[in-house]
């Protein structure tokens, strides 16, 4: 069995990549997918911690995260469609009405 620490290290890297994706990309959908990546890396951390500590709760938590992520994707995409249907673009920077 690989030491769970390695999995967590990998999860940290994936998390960082996901965060970079959120900050750098302007396409709303790619940003959303980057957030999904971050959630996945968190899931991995949970499961690995559960393995390392010998608890089943790590996997239970991961299951909950999946459920919540699914719900979040549903609503988030609905919002995205609602917001961007009226525009010709999926550029997030164009939603700057709260400036100042």
């Amino acid at each position: 069995m690989i030491d769970p620490g390695w999995y967590m290290a990998l999860a940290a890297v994936l998390f960082a990549i996901g965060a970079a994706g959120v900050l750098v990309r302007r396409n709303a959908l790619v940003m959303f997918m980057s957030i999904e990546l971050m959630l996945n890396s968190v899931n991995l951390t949970f499961v690995s911690a559960g393995t390392g500590l010998g608890l089943i709760e790590g996997q239970v938590a991961a299951l909950f995260v999946v459920v919540v992520a699914a719900a979040e994707v549903t609503v988030g995409l609905a919002i995205l469609i609602a917001v961007f249907r009226g525009r010709a673009t999926a550029d997030v920077d164009k939603l700057a009405a709260l400036k100042g």
């Binding site: 965060a19 959120v22 900050l23 750098v24 302007r26 940003m31 997030v92 920077d93 939603l95 700057a96 009405a97 709260l98 400036k99 100042g100």
Partner: protein
């Protein structure tokens, strides 16, 4: 008996509260009866309580009411000893007579009830002052009489002159009170207590001469304000704007004598400061003469009496300065009788002439107002110092003591004698112009004798003014023995032995007769043209008020204006507004961070998160 001492204060205080709140509803004449009755009952109570003191069987007693300011150990306590008893009897006795008189004088005034509420308030305040067993309670009374004086002087507040006079009295008094208060602080610093008994017992041991001089000088400043000596006398002539009963009660008989009482009470302290006594005597003598010169030239009948009061107070102060404490208290009492009588009589005259106060428009009233006239005659002779009336004995005792004090004080004696000469002159002038000669008032005025409610007190006061002198003649020093215990064995200046004392009496008497004669010669025929030069200056008070206005009031006003415009508007408001402006600009500069771009917000949030994680990691020591 001592346990119920507080009743003396409670009676007029209840009257004050009731009449100030409900005076309008109670109205004439019941407000007057109520107020007078309360003071009368207080007088009877005081008289009964004084009996043991007269018969020599009573010891001074203290009544502790309640613990008031524990942090400096101040109890609200009252003291009943000969000095307090004497003042109480004067205040309630003369006060009662003036209350009765006022029910007639103030007839028809729409704030009748409130007036008597204020009068009762004054009596209560004065009693607090004289019955105090420690300096703090005395100061409370001191301030309260100042307040009552203000309320009563500006009673007819719709008149600008009255309102201004009330303000002036209060403010000038305040200057004196400031000195008094600093003196109290020094007393506490030196003794650690405010109680009379403790302070007077330990004073000779505790106080250095320097400390005693400082304390007594400051206390004297308070007396200068309250008892209208130079330079804080300027409020008293203006205080004549108040109704005449007020002038009689407060500005002749009682409030202004509070300073005299206070110095007599603290005689032990003054005894330890000979330098202060010299100052006191000098101020007293100077004031006596100065005010007398001003009294000669006044055209308003009440102003003559006002300056006369200042002058007579000067006599009392001078007596205190030559350690003739009994003489000062004696003169205080006789002065209360004849000065109150003079004011009430003047009030009757003013009332009869429908408000006329100018002496040049009076004359010949003796035929129309006989009772007033004859009682005023008694007062006139008493003030002038004609034997055997009370004023002669008390004034003479003061002069004799001054002479006997020796060296420098003989000069003061001479000044006082000059003042006595002028006193006789001006009061005779007043009598002749008011009652003698021809009638100079318009026919429409139709003066008549005052109603009995007003003349009865006049008669009683006249009797007292006539026979009051028996309390302390050189043949039987009754008052001196009476007040001995109150003065805690302080040595007093005695009159010189015969024949010196007899010669001095003759000198005083001849000066009096000279003054009377002088006035009679000048005024008996016609009204001389007293204009220009001295006469104009005297009416104007020698321009002292103007001088104060220019050099004292104006800088004060300028400072106040500067504070209001520069300090308040620019500095303080500027600071407050500046804080507002600063916050606003800070907010405006920070709003640049709100770019509106989600990704920028995300970046900032992530950076913050990284910072927190870093912090946690560092704390855990994992890095």
């Amino acid at each position: 008996m001592i346990d119920a001492l507080w009743v003396l204060i409670a009676l007029p205080l209840i009257g004050a509260a009731t009449l100030i709140i409900f005076g309008k509803r109670i109205g004439e004449p019941w407000s007057g009866w109520l107020a007078s009755a309360l003071v009368g009952i207080a007088f009877v109570f005081a008289a009964v309580a004084s009996v043991p003191l007269f018969t020599g069987s009573g010891e001074p007693e203290t009544l502790d009411l309640f613990r008031w300011i524990p942090v400096v150990g101040v109890e609200a306590s009252l003291l009943w000893d000969p000095l307090a008893a004497m003042m109480t009897l004067i205040v309630t006795g003369v006060g009662f007579l003036i209350h009765v008189y006022a029910t007639g004088y103030m007839d028809g005034d729409d704030r009748f009830g409130t007036f008597f509420g204020y009068l009762n308030l004054f009596v209560a305040s004065m009693l607090i002052l004289v019955l105090a067993a420690n300096f703090v309670v005395m100061f409370v009374g001191w301030e309260l009489v100042g307040l009552s004086s203000y309320l009563l002087i500006s009673f007819w507040f719709a008149r600008p002159a009255a309102a201004a006079a009330g303000k002036k009295a209060f403010i000038v008094n305040r200057i004196g009170d400031y000195g008094f208060l600093v003196g109290l602080m020094l007393i506490f610093a030196a003794f650690g207590t405010f109680e009379f008994a403790a302070v007077f017992a330990s004073a000779p041991a505790v106080l250095t001469t320097g400390m005693a001089t400082a304390i007594t000088l400051l206390l004297f400043v308070g007396a200068v304000g309250k008892s209208a000596q130079i330079p804080l006398y300027v409020w008293l002539p203006d205080a004549m704007e108040g109704p005449t009963p007020v002038s009689a009660l407060i500005h002749a008989a009682t409030m202004v004598t509070a300073g005299i009482y206070m110095i007599a009470r603290t005689a032990v302290l003054f005894d330890l400061a000979p330098a202060t006594l010299v100052v006191v005597a000098t101020v007293g003598a100077a004031t006596a003469l100065f005010a007398a010169t001003l009294a000669v030239g006044q055209r308003d009948i009440k102003r003559v009496l006002a300056y006369s009061t200042i002058s007579q107070l000067g006599f009392m102060v001078m007596a205190l300065g030559v350690t003739a404490y009994t003489a000062a208290m004696f003169h205080l009492m006789t002065h209360a009788f004849f000065k109150a009588l003079l004011f009430l009589g003047a009030g009757a005259v003013i009332h009869a002439l429908g408000g006329e106060q100018d002496l040049r428009k009076m004359g010949g009233l003796r035929k129309v107002m006989p009772i007033t006239f004859w009682t005023m005659v008694v007062a006139w002779l008493a003030l002038a110092g004609v034997v055997p009336l009370s004023g002669f004995w008390s004034k003479d005792e003061i002069l004799a003591a001054a002479f006997a004090h020796g060296s420098y004080f003989v000069l003061l004696w001479a000044i006082a004698v000059a003042a006595a000469l002028l006193t006789a002159f001006y009061i005779t002038r007043l009598m002749i112009l008011t009652f003698g000669g021809e009638e100079r008032w318009p026919d429409a005025a139709d003066p008549h004798e005052a109603p009995p409610i007003m003349t009865a007190p006049l008669v009683i006061l006249a009797v007292l003014a006539a026979i009051g002198g028996v309390s302390n003649t050189p043949f039987r020093l009754g008052l001196e023995h009476f007040l001995e215990t109150s003065l805690h064995g302080v040595s007093q200046q005695q009159a010189p032995e015969a024949p010196v004392v007899g010669i001095l009496a003759l000198v005083a008497l001849s000066v009096t007769i000279a003054g009377i004669l002088g006035a009679w010669l000048r005024y008996r025929r016609s009204l001389p043209e007293d204009e220009g030069g001295y006469w104009a200056a005297a009416v104007d008070g020698y321009g002292i008020d103007d001088w104060y206005g220019r050099f004292v009031v104006a800088p004060g006003k300028a400072a106040a204006t500067w504070t209001a415009t520069v300090l308040d508007q620019r500095v303080i408001d500027g600071m407050v507004n500046g804080v507002g402006r600063g916050v606003r600009s800070l907010g405006e500069s920070m709003s640049d961070a709100q770019t509106g771009w989600v990704r920028w917000y995300g970046l900032v949030m992530l950076a913050g998160t990284v910072g927190v994680v870093l912090l946690l990691v560092l704390i855990q020591g994992l890095l």
